[in-house]
């Protein structure tokens, strides 16, 4: 499979990169590690005129803990996140999420920014050109049909990143820059919920760093992923949990985030209310399961049916909450 031709830009400073983004008005596709974009281009799903690689911008790499905030450069490779003791000891859900991404050769190249900004996936979209050519294009490919939900009018492609659910559970924000301007927004707000265009970032904007507040003492977190083969597969479902306990070991606050359920990670607000005041042994997982199952819509667009994946939400959520409390 050949990658279509493109012009290649590799700025060595952030200023230069932001100028290119501004000049091309979104026409320059950003290449971070490339482990998501390169297969997409090989499959003919994207054929940008220009690729802008960020690998030479060393300022975008690094992990710093300052003033109770962890700051991670968007181009930091997953391997660096895994070997960070700060992350392993204080941000367990993030560590577990990175571990859950594919295998070591991917960790050496893939980046945190690239993992967050990966495109959503669907069984009917992420296929070779030869496979797709047999039917008219789907909604995500710019057509009018949905093959996952016949007569469906919106795209149900699944956001399959592992890091974002964990980072949302840890209350992360992202620093987004464009030429002459910058803004900080909560990570959850970069997701549009629309499968055809999963992100809210403007065309000229670049996600440059991730900010994760240091959890209080008494707060634990975890990330649990369901997939067939741990070394290669995207999640069929994942749950990130962050649970804070008070002095008497009662649950004070819970953030539960579902991954791989739809075009964006889903924060289950009702879980916090239900779990408050309980302990590890008194949590009503059956009631929680009902809330999770009823509140989530999943369709048949991954390797397992939506109905099965929906039934598994309470199971995976229970594991994640228990692991976060321990």
């Amino acid at each position: 499979m050949r990658i279509p031709y493109f012009d290649f830009r590799a700025p060595s400073t952030l200023e230069e990169a932001l100028s290119i983004m501004d000049d091309y008005k979104g026409g320059a596709r950003v290449l971070a590690g490339g482990t998501d974009l390169i297969p997409i281009m090989k499959y003919g799903l994207d054929a940008p005129d220009t690729i802008m690689s960020l690998k030479k911008i060393t300022d975008l790499r690094g992990i710093k803990l300052e003033n109770k905030e962890l700051n991670i450069g968007a181009m930091t490779p997953l391997a660096d996140l895994l070997s960070s003791h700060i992350i392993k000891e204080n941000f367990r859900a993030l560590h577990q999420a990175v571990e859950a991404v594919a295998a070591p050769p991917i960790w050496n190249v893939a980046t945190i920014g690239g993992n967050i900004c990966q495109n959503s996936r669907c069984f009917y979209y992420n296929q070779s050109k030869t496979w797709r050519i047999e039917r008219p294009p789907c909604l995500k490919a710019g057509g009018n049909a949905c093959y996952a939900v016949p007569k469906g009018k919106k795209c149900f492609s699944v956001y399959s990143g592992d890091l974002a659910p964990a980072l949302i559970a840890l209350k992360s924000s992202v620093f987004v820059e464009r030429k002459g301007r910058s803004r900080i927004l909560s990570l959850q707000n970069i997701f549009s919920g629309n499968g055809t265009a999963p992100f809210t970032l403007e065309k000229e904007e670049l996600l440059t760093s991730i900010i994760v507040p240091l959890p209080d003492k008494g707060t634990g977190s975890s990330y649990v992923k369901m997939r067939f083969r741990p070394s290669v597969d995207y999640p069929l479902l994942s749950v990130a949990a962050s649970v804070s306990l008070d002095g008497s070991k009662k649950i004070k606050e819970t953030t539960l985030v579902l991954g791989a359920v739809g075009p964006a990670p889903v924060v289950v607000a009702a879980a916090g209310k239900l779990l408050r005041g309980g302990t590890k042994d008194t949590v009503d997982f059956d009631a929680l399961g009902e809330i999770l199952r009823k509140g989530t819509q999943m369709v048949d667009n991954l390797a397992l049916p939506g109905s099965y994946r929906r039934k598994m939400i309470p199971v995976i959520a229970k594991k994640a909450i228990r692991a976060a409390i321990e």
Partner: protein
Amino acid sequence: MKKSQKQLISLKINGQEYELAIHPNRTLLEVLREDLTLTGTKEGCDDGVCGTCTVLLNGAPIRSCLYLAIEAQGKEVTTIEGLAEGERLHPIQQAFIEHGAIQCGYCSPGMILTAKALLDKNPTPTEQDIKLAIAGNFCRCTGYNKIVTAIKAGCQNAEEVNNHG
């Protein structure tokens, strides 16, 4: 179809410098196999899943099918051709032969390079370390046990070579 300009790039592969004129869309795997006839690096899924195209970039295993050749400039690339010293095989290559860890041989270059990277970082890996290191390399013949055994033995071979020269 739009066709961009070729660019002059220089790559350092197995210690040797190469100057090439390539289109930026070429992957490192394509350039190694097609332009430099370093066909020891295999093409499998071409999709970043199977690990047969593994090469070392600055000593760390990567998928060469997912890496643009133009981005490998300024880095040290090691392919399976760069492991033996003349007729003398690398201790891990020798161990793969001695322990029957090769059947069809298609995954072997990737497996051996991944094992070399592990050994360079950790000369005495546990079985779990070995299994994690090769988690991204698929083998459809041996069932992995012989590969794990060979890597363990390769680590011991390497230690003996280092001790006795």
